[in-house]
């Protein structure tokens, strides 16, 4: 048999339409939970970024204002951003008028593709981070999430955020320029309700992730957050914090992580062994703990070895 390209195309066309049709049918269905007057929390899955969850793992927040909804963290992809935009319109009655990107990581930032870059605001450090890493993140997300990412391209925030008071649509916010989880971590306090949007400086019942972490700066940021008078706290990942435990839990994990990996190097363990160390019972309620421990070993171990192993 002599197969030509034309006969192959002919055979493909002869297939029933259903057999050739796009099989991807994923659709984002984010849900908004009212947590305070004019404030909604949108929960992400407390899991790694997986095809099964479409990368919808970060929390977002929606705040109603007279000039349109404020969306804090627009999700991972164009479609995710669009779904959050539609959700914001549904719960507030107004389209999104302002998007804040808390930091560079793709599960929080790439959904900005769904919005006019002029209404997307972030810290200057975050824009610089996205200029450097955005395309790489996009490639990585396309690899993991494939069709969920359709149409997503890197949108750099055009609005610069500075620390201090911000007024939008008659609603007053206090913005904080922090760092530690990344080089630029935006925190927003809604003055009317005292709700604190902490981004990924705070995780709650979900293990913190450290790909761009500076642990000393992160601890200093947690000190600052503790000092900010607030009511509810929306963490970047995990459940709503009603009793103020999330900041302490995040600090406890970071302290344990650094001490444990430092001791592992001092005891002569290699990376796989450090990644298999027991996780204390008090962290049993933290989702994705083993996964994040092994990621953190990858992020932190070579640096600890360079510092602790004597020069020969």
């Amino acid at each position: 048999m002599n197969l030509t390209r034309r006969s192959l195309i002919g055979a493909a066309l002869a297939l029933p339409v259903a057999a050739r049709a796009e099989t991807f049918a994923g659709a984002y269905a984010p849900k908004a939970e009212p947590v305070a007057e004019g404030v909604w929390m949108v929960r992400g899955a407390d899991a790694p970024i997986l095809f099964d969850n479409g990368g919808m793992i970060a929390n977002s927040a929606i705040i109603a204002t007279d000039a349109g909804a404020v969306l804090f963290d627009p999700g991972v992809s164009l479609e995710h951003g669009k779904a959050l935009g539609a959700l914001a319109r549904a719960v507030t009655g107004k389209a999104v008028g302002r998007v804040y990107v808390s930091h560079l990581h793709p599960d929080h930032a790439l959904g900005a593709a769904a919005f006019d870059p002029a209404i997307v605001h972030a810290l200057p450090a975050t824009r610089a981070d996205l200029e450097r890493d955005g395309e790489g993140f996009s490639d990585a997300m396309y690899r993991l999430l494939s069709d969920w990412m359709k149409g997503t391209h890197v949108v750099l925030p055009l609005g610069d955020v500075a620390e201090g008071e911000a007024l939008f649509g008659g609603r007053r916010f206090r913005l904080f320029a922090m760092q530690g989880h990344s080089a630029g971590d935006l925190v927003l306090l809604d003055e009317a309700t005292g709700t604190l949007l902490a981004g990924d400086l705070v995780f709650h019942d979900r293990a913190p992730s450290t790909p761009h972490a500076d642990l000393a700066k992160w601890r200093a940021a947690l000190d600052r957050l503790t000092a900010v008078q607030h009511g509810l706290l929306l963490p970047g990942h995990g459940t709503l914090d009603r009793d103020g435990g999330a900041i302490a839990q995040t600090r406890d994990w970071l302290d344990w992580l650094e001490a444990t990996l430092t001791q592992a190097v001092a005891d002569g363990l290699d990376m796989t062994e450090a990644g298999e160390l027991p996780i204390p019972a008090r962290f049993a309620g933290l989702k994705a703990a083993r996964y994040e421990l092994q990621r953190s070993v990858s992020h932190l171990y070579p640096g600890l070895e360079a510092r602790l192993l004597p020069r020969l």
């Binding site: 002569g268 990644g275 070993v297």
Partner: protein, 262 residues
């Protein structure tokens, strides 16, 4: 006509089953490259998939340039060689280790160029290869993106810097850890020739060879190795040689306590 017969005979010979290939056990990982690598690495030797070879890897490849792997074959007697290889890497074999007076145990870090099986093959004195491993998903480019120190431009400032320590374990064994600054260029990056550590040896103060490791370009930049030496008796000398013939060395005195966690 005669020529045609010869040709036919030749084709018949080529088409005849190769016994070694048929003796290979079916690959539990169903790798497309299993037979290719097995024939090349193991020849006619007996090959057995064996859970006595423990291959410890993390559940995700967070960094495809630095993927940690620990091979522990201490459940097997008389181990002569340990290979670590990744079927779908452009440089499949990362190390070929002969633990002369050392436990059949090795930890290091390799590069991954894509989703691939990562395996250890352990040769015992009876001539049998014991193989174990698993698939790991990885983003592309571990072998084909320039090393971090090339991008930073400081690789030559630190070339061959060695760090390490040794810990006396219970009994007579000593755990030795060594790290070495080296770009470990694969030759697969545009305009950067292959340049890698190719040999690491550990010897006793009396000059007895204890561990002998051949290293290939699939080992991660700034390589790190963990050995378990059987009967250290005093300081251990580590010597490394790279593919340009440069030699690096260091001496470690085993300690009975943890390092100070500064």
């Amino acid at each position: 006509m005669i020529r045609k017969k010869i040709l036919l005979a030749l084709i018949a010979t080529l088409a005849a089953p190769v016994p070694a290939a048929f003796a290979l056990p079916a690959d539990p990982l169903k790798s497309p490259m299993w037979e290719y690598h097995a024939e090349r690495l193991f020849g006619d030797a007996t090959v057995r998939f064996d859970s006595a070879v423990k291959v410890e890897i993390p559940e995700i490849a967070e960094n495809q340039r630095v993927f940690p792997i620990t091979v522990d074959a201490r459940a097997l007697p008389d181990v002569k060689r340990i290979l670590i290889f990744a079927d779908l890497n452009p440089i499949p074999v990362a190390v070929d280790y002969a633990p002369r007076a050392a436990a059949p145990f090795l930890a290091t870090r390799i590069k991954l160029d894509q989703r691939t099986p990562v395996r250890a093959a352990v040769l015992t004195a009876d001539g049998v290869w014991h193989v174990s491993g698993n698939w790991i998903d990885a983003a592309g480019g571990g072998c084909s993106a320039p090393p971090v120190s090339r991008v930073k431009g400081d690789w030559a400032d630190h070339l061959g810097e060695m760090h390490g320590a040794a810990w006396v374990l219970s009994g007579t064994q000593t755990r030795l850890r060594v790290t070495l600054r080296h770009p470990m260029d694969t030759g697969l990056v545009e305009n950067i020739a292959a340049y890698n550590i190719e040999r690491v040896t550990v010897t006793s103060s009396a000059g007895t060879p204890l561990a002998d490791l051949q290293v290939f370009g699939a080992v991660a930049e700034d390589p790190a190795f963990t050995f378990i030496i059987d009967d250290a008796k005093g300081p251990l000398s580590i010597a490394a040689r790279d593919s340009s013939g440069l030699e690096f060395d260091g001496v470690v005195t085993p300690r009975s306590t943890a390092l100070a966690a500064r």
